[in-house]
């Protein structure tokens, strides 16, 4: 899961999402077969070669020359994405112990486990840029790198698990699918893998909500309440409006991103309206209506002042989430040290035998 709110925007289409992931994967393979030679010649202009590779929609790989700003932008973005996956385990993990059926418990456990896996894929992708996971984790723990602010909201009922799947994962997918075409190879490949696995997340969320919305009156009220609380924070996941965004033409030129925050937000709203109707739930926006001229829905923007407050640390759960992560890290230290000590003993013993 991933939002866009903590930094600059991202790209993203919508609709037939798995198909778009498959198309991105095919494009990646096609680009690979188009590849000329092995790399720049000895006298080549590295910067021009880099620009050529990008222009040709080919992938930059870890040992290629790249502008330092490209490297830094990617490290920050991938790391924040990874942090979001890891912190994002908490709000849903909150309901594993109380899931209302054994089937739902198994699904939720598998989903939260996937998020840990996605965090690990992403840290690994970031590491190809010459930074260690430990450094990145430390930046998170020190509060010097952010994660998606959506996870600073509490999961107050079981319906929140459904809404996170439907709206939060839905928004994340809208953000992530275009990243499958990112110019940096390891990130693009990690995103393809993540998107394939995440498609189940959104559907399980929608299924939970559909069941609740067609269940008892209490269940339906629970579902509506969750939609009411998560709708605007989900819209805010796409980041500040384009006018206020630090969204850089450079990242566009580098093909790290392809769509603006507002484009993605609009795409997301257009997807959600019909899905909400089928659920029989109401999106909490009285001004939501079809605009024939624009061929898109008009909608009320989220409260960006609130978004800024949450990003700056004053969301309902910022402190709790960070406390939780720091505690897990600190309480696990003795285990990590023990494993390292054991490995060191074994390798010393092997050397002794060899000698």
């Amino acid at each position: 899961m991933y939002g866009n709110d903590f930094s600059a925007p991202e790209d993203a289409p919508g609709g037939g999402l798995l198909g778009e992931v498959a198309a991105a994967e095919a494009a990646l393979r096609a680009a690979a077969t188009r590849q000329r030679g092995g790399g720049p010649g000895p006298d080549a202009d590295l910067e021009a070669y880099f620009a050529d590779v990008i222009d040709a929609d080919q992938k930059i790989e870890p040992r290629d020359w790249m502008p330092e700003a490209y490297r830094k932008t990617l490290i920050r973005q991938i790391a924040q994405h990874a942090h979001s996956e890891i912190i994002g385990m908490q709000p849903e993990g909150n309901w594993i112990s109380r899931a209302p059926s054994l089937k739902r418990k198994a699904i939720l456990l598998a989903k939260v486990q996937d998020e840990a896996g996605h965090g690990l894929y992403l840290y690994a992708a970031a590491e190809t840029l010459g930074v260690s996971r430990d450094e990145l984790v430390q930046l998170l723990l020190d509060g010097r790198q952010k994660y998606s602010s959506i996870f600073n909201y509490p999961t107050l009922s079981w319906a929140d698990v459904g809404v996170i799947g439907w709206l939060v994962d839905g928004a994340a997918i809208v953000n992530q699918v275009p990243l499958c075409r990112c110019s940096y190879g390891p990130y693009a490949r990690a995103m393809i893998r993540v998107c394939k696995e995440e498609s189940f997340h959104q559907r399980q969320g929608y299924e939970i909500l559909h069941t609740l919305a067609h269940g008892t009156l209490e269940q339906k009220a629970m579902a509506q309440d969750a939609v009411d609380r998560w709708w605007y924070p989900s819209l805010a996941m796409f980041g500040p409006p384009d006018g206020d965004s630090t969204h850089s033409a450079r990242s566009m030129a580098w093909k790290i991103k392809r769509f603006s925050n507002d484009e993605l937000r609009q795409r997301f709203v257009d997807m959600c309206v019909q899905q909400a109707e089928i659920l029989g739930l109401t999106l909490p926006d009285p001004d939501l209506r079809w605009n024939e001229q624009c061929q898109a829905y008009d909608f009320t923007e989220p409260d960006y002042a609130e978004l800024m407050r949450v990003i700056s640390g004053e969301g309902p759960c910022n402190r709790q989430r960070m406390e939780h992560r720091r505690r897990a890290h600190a309480e696990g230290a003795w285990v990590r040290v023990a494993a390292a000590a054991y490995a060191a003993k074994r390798s010393t013993a092997r050397e002794a035998v060899a000698a």
Binding site: P100, L102, A328, G332, W334
Partner: protein, 241 residues
Amino acid sequence: MRSPFDFALALGDDALVAAQRLGEWTSRAPEMEEDVALANIALDQLGAARLLLTYAGELEGAGRDEDALAYLRDDREFRNCLLVELPNGDFAVTMAKLLFLSAYQLPLYSALAGCADERLAAIGAKARKESAYHRDHAALWVRRLGDGTAESHRRMQAAVDQVWPYAHELFAPWPGAPVDPAGLRGDFDAYVGPVLAEATLTRPADGWAPAGGRDGVHTEHLSYLLAEMQVLHRAHPGATW
């Protein structure tokens, strides 16, 4: 008298309560990779629990499905061993619990795979592969913690000492059961003994042997575990999820 229903229920409850405890580790493991590993083991236990409870419900013939058995029984009606309901403690305690549980479940499921009851045999055949993985995982960590640092050694020995007494209940005789657990103690000792030795840990002396889980007399911990697990389901009687 204990029936085939009681047997399936006991095994299912072991797996369910173990899954519930392992699930508590989610987002709290000592390393992110271990978060993924513990979730895998929890999912395996939960999967076995669902098969066993579903079968138990069929044996009973009273129309109870896996959820009715998991969510609508009180602690006195649960038949799991005490070992699985003990709190997670630190990572050493969790690994000691997992080592003992899996060193019991592996020979149990293996024997079940060859028993006359086809349903239990099928469940055993599936679950034993998973148990082998759980046992390896626990042993791997017990060795590392036992023979890691002074602190990890101290914690691992303390964990083994704390949990050891609860291992005895696993092998209480159950005459007439599809597999009598009393016959599995040898396998358990043959595996656990060398692991403890390699981990430079001392096998605790046998003595105090708390029991009662198979009769529904549990530790104080189970009621809390169930209160949390069942709260939502019970708040909406008859609802579908």
